[in-house]
Symmetry: C2
Subunit: 411 residues, 2 copies
Amino acid sequence: MLVVQKYGGTSVGDLERIRNVAKKVISYREKGDRLVVVVSAMAGETDRLISLATSITKSPNERELDVLLTTGEQVASALLAITLNSMYCEAVSLQGHQVRIITDSTHTKARILTIEKDRIFSELDKGRVVVVSGFQGIDVNGNITTLGRGGSDTTAVALAAALEADVCEIYTDVDGVYTADPNVCPRARRLDAITYEEMLEMASLGAKVLQIRSVELAKRYNVPVLVKSSFVDGPGTLVCKEVPKMAMEKVMISGVTFNKNEAKITISKVPDRPGIAAKIFSALADSNIVVDIIVQNVSKGNYTDITYTVAKTDAKKAYKITEQVAKEIGAEQVILDENIAKVSIVGSGMMSHYGVAAKMFSTLASEGINIEAITTSEIKISCVIEAKYGELAVQALHKAFGLDKEDIEEE
Amino acid sequence: MLVVQKYGGTSVGDLERIRNVAKKVISYREKGDRLVVVVSAMAGETDRLISLATSITKSPNERELDVLLTTGEQVASALLAITLNSMYCEAVSLQGHQVRIITDSTHTKARILTIEKDRIFSELDKGRVVVVSGFQGIDVNGNITTLGRGGSDTTAVALAAALEADVCEIYTDVDGVYTADPNVCPRARRLDAITYEEMLEMASLGAKVLQIRSVELAKRYNVPVLVKSSFVDGPGTLVCKEVPKMAMEKVMISGVTFNKNEAKITISKVPDRPGIAAKIFSALADSNIVVDIIVQNVSKGNYTDITYTVAKTDAKKAYKITEQVAKEIGAEQVILDENIAKVSIVGSGMMSHYGVAAKMFSTLASEGINIEAITTSEIKISCVIEAKYGELAVQALHKAFGLDKEDIEEE
């Protein structure tokens, strides 16, 4: 079996932890697996390097920033290879330029174009463990590039795709993907499996286990990704194409998530003409503001209301831009509301199931929670509610959709 | 003019010092020079990385150690390039694999085979300062290698040779090469120029300004090397093929050096037969012991005495090996003396000058210093004396050969 494993910054945070990773790697080797191990920089190192650069100048040259940052993963890969060799497990580290992970030239957020397989396979054929530095590549001119924050996940999945590995294992701080944030919902359960699509919705909604890009990549190349804890043994969560349901139709909802870091902006009485929405959201895009959900209520006469959410950090700026555009297009009013939470339920194909949305809305209603906006997709329903009800909504929905685990002690 | 400059670890020891290097580089650029700047790792960084590796295992895998250590120079090159760009001086960093500094595969002490010029010249043609990481290269398979301690000097000289630069400037802690160690001999003068051969003798005798290997390389490719201070402006010392003497024959001696880190071993009454010396020194070489000077006194009858010096750290081991061999060859006695100093005078072609050696011996005699062994070469005379006389001998010889500077206040 060919396995790609990825260990994050916390997992290689010090020499003792690197030794633990080495032990884990060796135990896999003893099962006969061929192993490619992707490592991030030791926890804190990337931030240390960034702060060195930014204490020189606020906007360091991006090509050179990439040269600087990739040393973090290079150090981690060398230390892991040294540790493995010292434990009599032959291992060899490879940097982006040695594997030849070719990316475009967009420094600090490059995209992988191709990965050469020859060097890795030739090392594996010699019986070695191959340790690859995550997060980095080179462009066609040999310039060092990085894939952006969390890029090591992307490296691991891309390698698994290129090498046609049997599985890509991501070792991280948590032992899998949960039906809700355990800090908010004590009855949250670890999922044994989840589809790529559900995972994408979960990730973008705040369950920060896997970087979105790496899930998209896994989906495109159909790479099974197993999310596991570096510190605790356990089965983890498999992210894959189709999840075999234990009892047909029973567990339809994979999880409940919420997000309090957004603000809601409503433009009321917008003249309902073609191109109006484009005008608003182009202006926001021009200022590099990322909009999350957009809701346009049904038109009333010749007018409509448009609501959208943005990160709270962008809220003031977005509000100003929107006010400007509102004047130009003759809208009545712009209202900024920073006191919101977005609660979502995620599950494959649930919109085609009778009653899921209704059940969500009635569950919220029975808790006295008013819904301020709703958006839906094939596998997700999100409601904007008042911020203070966020945790309550998650707990109520988690229970209503049968996600509560049974073995928790009653309080 | 094409100039290769090299800045050592102290010169790039922190962000403030890197800024000073950037200012110096920019002032050269403004004179219109094309600049290739070689940097070492920030002071202390290489030691920090080595101690990380050796706290994992006493003998870290050497291939991986090289991967680890080269990050030090990579960080320094990126930080200097970031600083230069922030000061509106276009600069680009290049690592060993980007320049394509090809070495053999002897990890931790690789030798440079070839240096490709295309990438550097193409960056220079774009008007950029090229910052090259010292100390590192890659082998033909793309594995990362290092050139050994002080390897950044070698990188700089090799680059200057490959690019046919007009001069290679080495910026370091001292402002040039002195006629003696100023700590020992307050009247020591900075030399304006010194030949490669003299520099080689000076370096191996303890005046640690330039790594021997880089001087050998400079000599082979006839690269003029200018040694200057990073911190103080001044003319420095030019190391080159021929030194124009100010007044013919006047300054014949370039410097006086001494070394107290050696021990002397004498084997007395050695049977004077072919192959005996070979037997002794082969046994030492087999144990990786480097011998410095070797003196064989004239034979007395069928016997001779052999004296050699080794680093004090090897003395006990060398003594044991020599005792073993002495028994086999039937020598009378082996004597170890760790209480010695080696004092040398260095100067081009001085052995062909009448009276230089005699003057050295009589100078030592007039101070009451007994000479225990003597060796000579074309450009060097070394005497082994009792350790406590080392500093006195340097001062006396410095004065006797007219090296004392004149503008010092009389004490």
